[in-house]
């Protein structure tokens, strides 16, 4: 049996528990008397300890154990929750998280003992109780009290029957002066990974002797096909006490009952005496080889199992794959759609075979329509399966803001909405760092000091908002603060000083354009570099990352009132609705999500601003982009009176793309065109059209 198969469950559940702990600690800090919270924390800590123990992560177990002790004291009312206590507990949580990170990468917890945290925790616990023994005593008494009570009823190993074959082994063992024990192990009711526990029991036993038989048998135990107890027969040179101690060392074992196993009585009950005696009389001749063969066979059988965990630990492969938990209902929907797809296919096949009559044409179209609706639904459902609520990323931020608040000595609060907004898994994985960066920025640069805020007549506590919401085909995430806002003049001067722009350019730039400079590489206006931010590897990284995800970011700021960063992310990554257009002989796809309107524009209406073509569309001046020039398409020489212009938007910016012809709307699958070809950023990928032709997808964000 191999613990590594539980690794994924362990990691998943540990994450959940750590999150609960973190959430509840935050609440606890606000409401130190909240008993529900304390209980919740205690439960989470306890399960964590148990799971870490099961998996054999001793350091992790030790740390959680000590944390649990502290919670225990809190729960029993021996101490009150103070800020320092919460700080230490949070540090403990961090340490646990780093263990977990290690485990995820290497399946090993690493070697950091975190002695300091443990000592502090123990110090706190001891101070509260005035003793140093912690809670070892009660658990010891509990376990020593029980055996007497349950000995009579609990020694289930007596029910184990042995076969003729196994009896030989017994004889052999006896001859070697080994003790034969029956062992019954009871697990705690709350035990989660029963099979893993059992495995640890077996492992502990095998260090001291040899397990001959188990009831239920080893395979069943491995598959968790047992209640809270299992029994086994065991040979060892140790005495019963040592065996018992070894088993009870494994955590979450309620108790172990060890006693000498009277195999002869058992055997007699079962078998006819003569046979029994015959076996007894000549145990050394026919049975001896068998007997020695059995342990040997058992050993070789066990060896690979022992070797497995060791082998699993060694390689530095990432211990866990990336997974998505899927609601079974979503899978049912998928299954349904797939069966509809098969029906649609069959109908088409049958139409094809009855080719020729006129009726088939109509039903053919009908079937195509049906197929279309099925594939659209299928696409939607698959997308839904890949969607994960953004919660899993943002729920660590309250904690971060709390820490920042302490570190920066500013009072601030984080308000989050829309945590249930769903995004594609790949986006979720990547979006954490940029958001964290923006929040840090807000906390450090955005919000003023408390005194300053009071002087300005604002409320003392700064507010940071994180809002996520769906907007058409996009998901918007807004990071907002009610701080000082961006000082445009400061940015302007800095940009000139740094040589990013010339003084003349600066004159002509709008405030918005100046703010956009913040997204240039190595541009930080923070006067002093702090721990938190200001090293100059800031917003440009955020921007690159978000653009890498197919999204964009924009910044709005009102001086004195705060600033907000808006991230727009596409809902989907692989399949989009697009408008197909023709440019000369070539076809291109423009993602529908970025299209505002489509206009016919008279050539005579084109105006020039700084030698650039613009049009005035209902009061808005929109620059024109001649796609045929940008994309090096041989221009059609014919003179035209009006142009077809696709108006696209990127954030608030609009631009008009001049195209030759519109083909229509289509659902397209985005494919990469590979890394060898050095195409410009304007091409976002390619797609295969119905007739096998390839159309390139225009990246509007790079064009505008």
């Amino acid at each position: 049996m191999d613990v590594s198969q539980y690794l994924e469950i362990f990691i998943d559940e540990t994450k959940e528990h750590l999150q609960t702990l973190s959430d509840q600690l935050m609440i606890l800090e606000q409401e130190p008397e909240n008993m529900d919270t304390i209980n919740e924390i205690f439960r989470a800590a306890h399960s964590l300890k148990g799971m870490a123990g099961t998996m054999g992560y001793k350091r992790m177990q030790r740390l959680t154990h000590d944390m649990e002790n502290v919670f225990q004291e809190v729960r029993s009312g021996n101490m009150t929750v103070k800020s320092e206590l919460v700080d230490v507990l949070f540090r403990g949580l961090d340490a646990l998280e780093s263990y977990l990170a290690n485990i995820m990468e290497t399946a090993d917890e690493g070697t950091e003992d975190n002695e300091e945290i443990i000592n502090t925790l123990n110090g706190i616990a001891d101070a509260a109780t005035g003793k140093s023994g912690t809670d070892a005593a009660p658990s010891a008494t509990a376990s020593s009290a029980k055996p007497e009570a349950s000995k009579a009823s609990g020694a289930r190993y007596n029910e184990i029957h042995i076969t003729d074959f196994e009896k030989g082994t017994f004889e052999k063992a006896k001859a070697q002066n080994e003790n034969i024990f029956g062992v019954t192990v009871y697990l705690q009711e709350a035990c989660i990974l029963k099979a893993a526990r059992a495995f640890l029991v077996f492992k502990a036993l095998e260090e001291l002797g040899e397990v001959i038989k188990a009831v239920p048998d080893v395979q069943d135990i491995e598959d968790e096909k047992f209640e809270m107890d299992f029994s086994l027969l065991y040979f060892t040179k140790e005495n019963a006490e040592a065996v018992k101690a070894a088993i009870e060392n494994v955590s979450e074992v309620k108790e172990a009952i060890v006693g000498t196993y009277e195999f002869e009585e058992q055997a007699q009950e079962e078998e006819a005496k003569p046979e029994q005696e015959a076996a007894k009389e000549e145990p050394k001749t026919p049975e001896a080889p068998k007997a020695s063969a059995k342990p040997a066979a058992a050993k070789t059988a066990e060896k690979p199992e022992e070797a497995k965990p060791a082998a699993a630990k060694k390689p530095a492969k990432p211990a866990v794959g990336r997974t998505v938990r899927v609601d079974i209902e979503k899978l049912d929907v998928l299954m349904n759609l797939v069966s509809e797809l098969i029906i649609a296919k069959n109908s088409l096949v049958s139409i094809n075979s009855s080719e020729g009559d006129e009726k088939s044409d109509a039903s053919f179209n009908e079937q195509i329509e049906y197929l279309e609706s099925v594939t659209t639904n299928l696409h939607e459902s698959v997308m839904k399966v890949r969607m994960v609520p953004i919660e899993s990323v943002v729920n660590r931020f309250p904690r971060m803001i709390r820490d920042l608040s302490k570190k920066l000595n500013k009072k601030m609060e984080l308000h989050m909405t829309g945590e249930d907004t769903e995004l594609d898994r790949t986006v979720i994985d990547e979006i954490g760092d940029p958001l964290q960066h923006l929040l840090r920025n807000s906390a450090d640069h955005g919000l003023e000091d408390n005194e300053e805020r009071i002087a300005l007549g604002k409320e003392e506590v700064g507010n940071i908002y994180l809002d996520a919401y769906q907007d058409g085909n996009n998901v918007n995430i807004e990071v907002r603060d009610d701080g000082a806002g961006i000082n445009v003049e400061k940015v302007r001067n800095k940009a000139i000083e740094k040589g990013t722009i010339t003084a003349e350019q600066a004159e002509n730039m709008s405030d918005k354009e100046i703010i956009d400079l913040l997204f240039r590489p190595s541009f930080s206006t923070a006067e002093k570099i702090t721990d938190v931010s200001g090293r100059g590897v800031g917003l440009d990284v955020v921007k690159t990352k978000i653009e890498g995800l197919g999204g964009n970011i924009e910044c709005k700021s009102v001086i004195g009132e705060g600033s907000s960063f808006i991230i727009r992310l596409p809902l989907t990554l692989a399949i989009i609705q697009a408008l197909m257009v023709e440019l000369g002989p070539e076809k291109y796809a423009i993602p529908l999500g970025s299209i505002e309107t489509i206009e016919d524009v008279l050539v005579s209406d084109i105006r020039y601003v700084q030698t650039k073509e613009v049009i005035n569309l209902r009061g808005t001046v929109i620059p024109l982009i001649r796609l045929d020039q940008i994309l090096d398409i041989e221009a059609g020489s014919k003179e035209v009176e009006s142009l077809t212009v696709v108006i696209v938007k990127k954030g608030n910016k609009l631009a008009g793309l001049v195209v030759d012809n519109l083909i229509g709307q289509q659902e397209i699958v985005i494919k990469s065109i590979g890394s060898y070809i050095n195409c410009s950023k304007m091409i976002g990928g390619a797609t295969v059209l119905g007739d096998g032709e390839i159309a390139l997808i225009l990246e509007v964000n790079a064009l505008v």
Binding site: I673, I677, E693
Partner: protein, 162 residues
């Protein structure tokens, strides 16, 4: 470069290597068969704007989009003339990324042993072709320039090329 050649020569010495012989104009080139995934007839190539000059565009090979480069343009020969014999050889250096190269004709597959391969002539360092060759194969009916295919695909363009 030399080191690579040495390693390759060692390999060759132990056992013969198979090469696909292709024609560009009047010259013959050999491509190590282990990189060749497929050979397809010329098909409609979709141009990719602003790509390197020797990339003709992308093709659709059974739903997969594959960039196609012109060996002629890469080697600074005359632009391709598409004929019935024109083929696109699909090369896979890595499992996930295929690339097609256009050749005038695919002749045959030959096995060359160690003693029928000579080192390429490196005496003239200004010759841009050197980096693309791994050796010269000798055959009864002529010579084959053996291509170092990863250099051809990944290799940088010469300075004089835009």
């Amino acid at each position: 470069m030399e080191e690579i050649n040495d390693i390759q020569n060692l390999e060759i010495a132990s056992e013969g290597k198979q090469y696909i012989v292709v024609r560009l104009g009047t010259e013959f080139y050999g491509i190590d068969i282990k990189y060749v995934d497929n050979i397809v007839r010329n098909q409609r190539i979709t141009r990719v704007p602003k790509a390197q000059r020797y990339f003709k565009g992308v093709i659709n090979l059974r739903g997969e989009i594959i960039p196609v480069m012109s060996l002629r343009l890469k080697f600074k020969l005359e632009p391709d003339e598409y004929t019935n014999a024109t083929r696109i050889i699909i090369i896979k250096l890595e499992p996930q990324s295929a690339i097609g190269i256009i050749v005038d004709e695919v002749k045959e597959v030959v096995t060359l042993g160690g003693n029928s391969i000579e080192k390429a002539d490196t005496s003239d360092p200004s010759d841009p072709m050197i980096q693309y060759l791994s050796g010269i194969g000798k055959r009864s009916d002529g010579l084959i320039s053996l291509l170092n295919i990863s250099a051809v695909i990944v290799g940088r363009e010469g300075k004089d090329e835009v």
